[in-house]
């Protein structure tokens, strides 16, 4: 082999001494990650830092006037603006309604569909279908279905003698409606995560428990639920953070109304930034959102640590 003979090697042998194999690996490694890293710095980290500075200024988008105002935007949000606390309240209600409902339904469906039976694929496919559907389409269709008396939902309720509320026109019903329809949209994802977790639990455990005379509920409570704990935690983190990010669903279904009853943080930020062009205030809100999500994540990670020890 030509490249391996003696003459070939002596030609090749001299090499810049600094390019050791180790250095080479480091250089190659950074080259491999550099496209992702550079893009990440420009389009993610840079903007994240910029938000901090924006949040310290008053900035009108149209006239491009900026003034440094220190922490005034934060002060405005936390102490002055009554909308802010309503927004926080709404966001918390949204999360507090969505997360448990989503997880409970997901677990119930997963328990029902984890083991094969005739039609299991059919049901899994149906429950998962909204996940692959665009949130915009889902929101549009549900907004249509939830119209007052003319909407399909109330028409159907009327046939069984129920006078359905004007769903998207009354603050509490509207909040319930956006939560439930969002759960319907996303529950399939958590369902399959639970199914995957359930299927990875060896049947031996369950059978051993059954031999010892445990009831179905006891098996679930004492065997399956503890084994699902890591999955439950991951799902909880994902779903909670996800619930704070929901924008399109609200934007299209209620536009934050009625009576600001569904005005959640993500939508509020958008509104301040891109409808009222209050860049500084919107950036302060964005920072607050960042801190909330960060805190939630940290809390849940701590729980996870505690759970595993």
């Amino acid at each position: 082999m030509a490249s391996l003979n003696e003459t070939g090697t002596t030609v090749r042998a001299p090499r810049a001494p600094w390019l050791t194999l180790k250095r080479r690996e480091t250089i190659e490694g950074w080259l491999f990650v550099s496209p992702t890293l550079i893009g990440f710095l420009i389009f993610f980290l840079g903007p994240l830092i910029a938000v901090v500075f924006y949040s310290l200024s008053e900035w009108n988008l149209l006239s491009q006037d900026t003034t440094f105002v220190g922490l005034a935007n934060y002060e405005d949000a936390l102490t002055q603006n009554p909308d802010f606390w309503q927004v926080i309240r709404n966001s918390v209600i949204f999360a507090a309604g969505l997360v448990p409902m989503n997880m409970a339904l997901a677990l119930a469906l997963a328990m029902a569909l984890a083991r094969p039976f005739r039609g299991v694929v059919f049901f899994r496919t149906i429950f998962f279908a909204p996940v692959v559907t665009s949130a915009v389409a889902w929101a549009i269709v549900w907004k249509f279905l939830l119209q007052g008396d003319a909407g399909a939902v109330n028409q159907m309720l009327a046939t069984v003698g129920i006078d359905g509320p004007n769903w998207l026109r009354e603050p509490n019903w509207a909040m319930a409606a956006v939560i439930v329809t969002r759960v319907l949209k996303m529950v399939g994802l958590n369902m399959i995560l639970y199914i995957a977790a359930l299927q990875s639990i060896p049947r031996d455990y369950e059978e051993a428990a059954r031999l010892e005379g445990a009831s179905e509920w006891q098996i679930f409570r004492m065997v399956i639920w503890p084994l699902l704990a890591p999955t439950t935690l991951i799902i909880m983190v994902i779903t909670t953070i996800g619930s704070f990010k929901v924008f399109d669903h609200i934007y299209l279904m209620t536009g934050g109304g009625p009576e600001n009853g569904t005005l959640v943080l993500a939508f509020y930020i958008y509104q301040q930034a891109f409808e009222f062009f209050e860049i500084g205030y919107a950036s302060a809100l964005a920072m607050i959102m960042f801190v909330i999500v960060l805190a939630l994540t940290v809390v849940q990670l701590i729980l996870r640590q505690k759970g595993s020890t």
Partner: protein, 282 residues
């Protein structure tokens, strides 16, 4: 009075299936109603609710294209999603491979650094990105809609997904490639990638859908109708005076959703697994 054991089992199973069917209704019904209403006229749409339209108004599907440059918008969504998918596959597998396999100074720190992105909602960075895009002069173009998903939290998620998969691949194959004289890029391209088809497919599927369904970014960055993507176009079926055109909107929504649903039905196993993979590892 007393039912025999097999009879009891049948009754139980029937009840079981029945309850599943009831639960399935709110999942299935919106799709049926959407398609059915897409065929109804503006008056019938709010009349007595029927699943089968009294008159099939096919012209809705023609008017959709008259009302907006809907074909163009459809194409925009497809090509943007393809571009995002290809770029994400390329970059996430490159970076994911390096993070999985190469021992280089700073790699561990880099991981933590990138990981932090997973916690930050897009809403937080959208405002500065608006000004960044303005500075780059790409407002009302598709550039932001391609760059932001590729380099944002979704791209990071894809990178981790690829990394997790690469870590689990047998390392000796790559050693063999090294002995055979492949460069790093060669090993990545000729050995690691061909063996990672399931992970690549998963990333491709979730990335395509992510881009396809993107709403906030198009809403912020696009202004002219012919640049709109589907989600934005769907939310825009109002008459020139702001009144909603439900029949057209639902027809257009059907046009946007049904192809995806068909692909989903054909490849549901693969698609569901892809999401399971990303959920567990991402």
């Amino acid at each position: 009075m007393a039912l025999s054991q097999p009879q009891l089992a049948t009754v139980k199973r029937t009840c079981w299936m029945l309850s599943l069917v009831v639960v399935a209704i709110p999942f299935l019904f919106p799709f049926l109603w959407m398609i059915s209403s897409g065929f109804k006229g503006p008056t019938e749409i709010f009349g007595e609710p029927t699943l089968i339209p009294r008159t099939w108004r096919w012209q809705n599907f023609v008017e959709v294209f008259d009302y907006q440059p809907f074909a163009r918008q459809y194409f925009n969504s497809i090509y943007i999603a393809c571009a995002v998918t290809v770029l994400t596959l390329l970059l996430s597998s490159l970076a994911g491979y390096a993070l999985a396999r190469m021992r280089f100074a700073g790699a561990a720190l880099l991981m933590v650094f990138l990981m932090s992105a997973l916690m930050v909602p897009e809403e937080v960075t959208i405002v500065p990105n608006f000004f960044l895009m303005k500075w780059l002069g790409v407002m009302d173009t598709h550039v932001p809609l391609i760059l932001l998903p590729v380099f944002g939290p979704h791209g990071v998620m894809a990178t981790f997904l690829m990394r997790q998969y690469f870590v689990a691949l047998p390392k000796e194959l790559e050693d063999a490639g090294k002995m055979d004289g492949l460069s790093r890029v060669g090993i990545w391209w000729k050995i690691a990638l061909p063996m990672s088809r399931p992970a690549l497919a998963a990333v491709a599927i979730i990335t395509f859908l992510f881009s396809w369904n993107l709403f906030l970014e198009p809403l912020v960055f696009l202004s002219s109708l012919e640049n709109f993507t589907l989600p934005l176009a769907l939310s825009n079926f109002t008459d020139p005076y702001g009144a909603p055109l439900w029949h057209l909107q639902l027809a257009a929504t059907s046009l946007a959703v049904v192809p995806i649903l068909i692909v989903y039905l054909i490849a549901q196993r693969q698609i569901i697994e892809s999401f399971a993979m990303s959920g567990v590892k991402g």
